[in-house]
Symmetry: C2
Subunit: 339 residues, 2 copies
Amino acid sequence: MSQPKQSPSIKEIAAIAGVSTATVSRVLNDKGGYGEETRRRVMAVLQSNGYIGNMAAKALRESRTRTVGLILPSIDNPFFSSLAYHLEERLDREGHSLLICNSLGDAEREQNHYRSLLAKQVDGILMISDLSALAGRLPLDRVPLVVLDRRPDPALAVPYVVNDDRAAGKAATEHLLARGCRHLMFLAFPQAADNGASSLRELGYLDALKEAGIPVDQNYILRRPGLSPATEEAEALVGRFLDEGRFPLDGIVAVSEKTAVGALFALRKRGVSVPGEVRLLGFDNTILSEVTHPGLSSVDRCPEAMADTAVRLLLERPEKGGPLLHEIPFRLAERESSR
Amino acid sequence: MSQPKQSPSIKEIAAIAGVSTATVSRVLNDKGGYGEETRRRVMAVLQSNGYIGNMAAKALRESRTRTVGLILPSIDNPFFSSLAYHLEERLDREGHSLLICNSLGDAEREQNHYRSLLAKQVDGILMISDLSALAGRLPLDRVPLVVLDRRPDPALAVPYVVNDDRAAGKAATEHLLARGCRHLMFLAFPQAADNGASSLRELGYLDALKEAGIPVDQNYILRRPGLSPATEEAEALVGRFLDEGRFPLDGIVAVSEKTAVGALFALRKRGVSVPGEVRLLGFDNTILSEVTHPGLSSVDRCPEAMADTAVRLLLERPEKGGPLLHEIPFRLAERESSR
DNA sequence: CTTTGATACGTAATCGTTTACGTATCTGCA
DNA sequence: TGCAGATACGTAAACGATTACGTATCAAAG
């Protein structure tokens, strides 16, 4: 009735079925080289003994685990968890599993996790990191490595998957310009923690202003110090800007969703209507953008497509020398905050 | 300069250092039984050759992987991803890694993932599932198993970690009663998809009404059909209730965060002020509750404590026969929606 | 000087697979 | 009949670690 506590090994199965381990293995892997009668008998024994293979042994023998690792700052972040969802989905379809490691952006944690993943013999590693913590200290070529949502130094020769952030910044800005905004704020990431995306989006913002013939005013470019949570800082920054009242304002491009929420809070507390007086637009388009009031217009960075490309790069290992940069299309999700 | 593509094996290290593999292994594991001079030499060779162990081999030999699996409906859910974050955090501190598997609540996926985790020789499995899909079809005792946020049949003898949902439902209701609400709606999960928590919270709601001497009216208990996304259905249900206008309403206890958001949308569209005319309270207290307007009062289910307990149960394997039910304290996070 | 015990190793088996290689049986054809 | 080639297996060697067991050396104790 009850199954044995431990799964039997291929050897025990072989003994019961009266064949060799080689034959059991062949049956298990559909390799052929056995008679139909034998196959049936082996299958029956496997079934009735609740055989479940030992992937550790298989991995040792084949030196592949069908497991890949994902190192990210924190799975507890709506955009990353959406990305992780799609990565797992895609990997699962290819018969691979996903190991998740939170780094909190900490260099030491990244290194430890990376080493540990290599030791675990993963078939590949996905990272949301600029790799500056790893470069030179750990081998980057023992196993396929793909970076997501960050732009590592091209000298490291690691492929990376990002959006065309400059174009996205430009599109976001143009969206607000098209709705009549003329005094546009750009709410940026801290310079230090700049993951490359923020300054590119800023360039896009500048591109759009230039094309529209609107002079750039540095007072409209607000940069978070980066010491406290994004939402709080953004709220404080925008709040101060509004309180000083030195400059007119009718639109804000926020470099992330959380900063956009902060901006929204600041505006609401001061009774500034959105989108009536100020239009607002953020990035990431996670569930957060759906539940604020008004709903946040947001640049959808298409995490599903990012995941798709990253997994393809990781598993199909394109010939060396291919392009490192892989850009994923984005699209604007318009909601009330910019209408 | 550049390290070898493949990590050397213990055997190669041994050869270079002029010792046996046994000695290298002993040095690696601090087992003692070697001279100081030898230790230094072996260490140096390990270092300079970029040795990284092979956990597949180690797992095969020791039959433990220091890896545990987590099967959940979807990592792309704020409460679950918070739970996953804390699980990983806690496991990492114990030297374990976390494999993540999305089941979408689908029985077949759950089974496949479960089998695959067993094959991968994980040291334990965490599940957000009532196990009905597994019971009888797969061995539940090959490896320690702990259920989170669901109440599996006690006959399965699987420990599970949940909140005291009845108490939480009661506390939530009392919170609104204390603020003067007398016409309280309870917004429940669909009967089919009931994970046990919803009906317990409903009992708590009834407890609170009874204690307050308020007669129960079934018209105030709304149940989602469970066919569409929670937020939409909740919005539709509450909307219809309001539009019919047959019953007075001044408070809503929503069984989850997403249903609370749906309720909030319905109220807002009809110009019902929250908390002025209707006070609202939900569950889960994820980041969603922070960004709605007004901010959602929410029962914080303390995912960190849940993770802590679950990992402890999984790794410390308490003596058989201990209690299965493990209740985690909750606390009310009060925001504007109920003030 | 012998004995005892500790210390510092090495040898080889083992974990559960896969697979190269060998071999026996059978089928079909000249 | 004899032989080639296919088919259906079995044998045994890996994969990279751990570890029980054996052994040589040495110091201290008797």
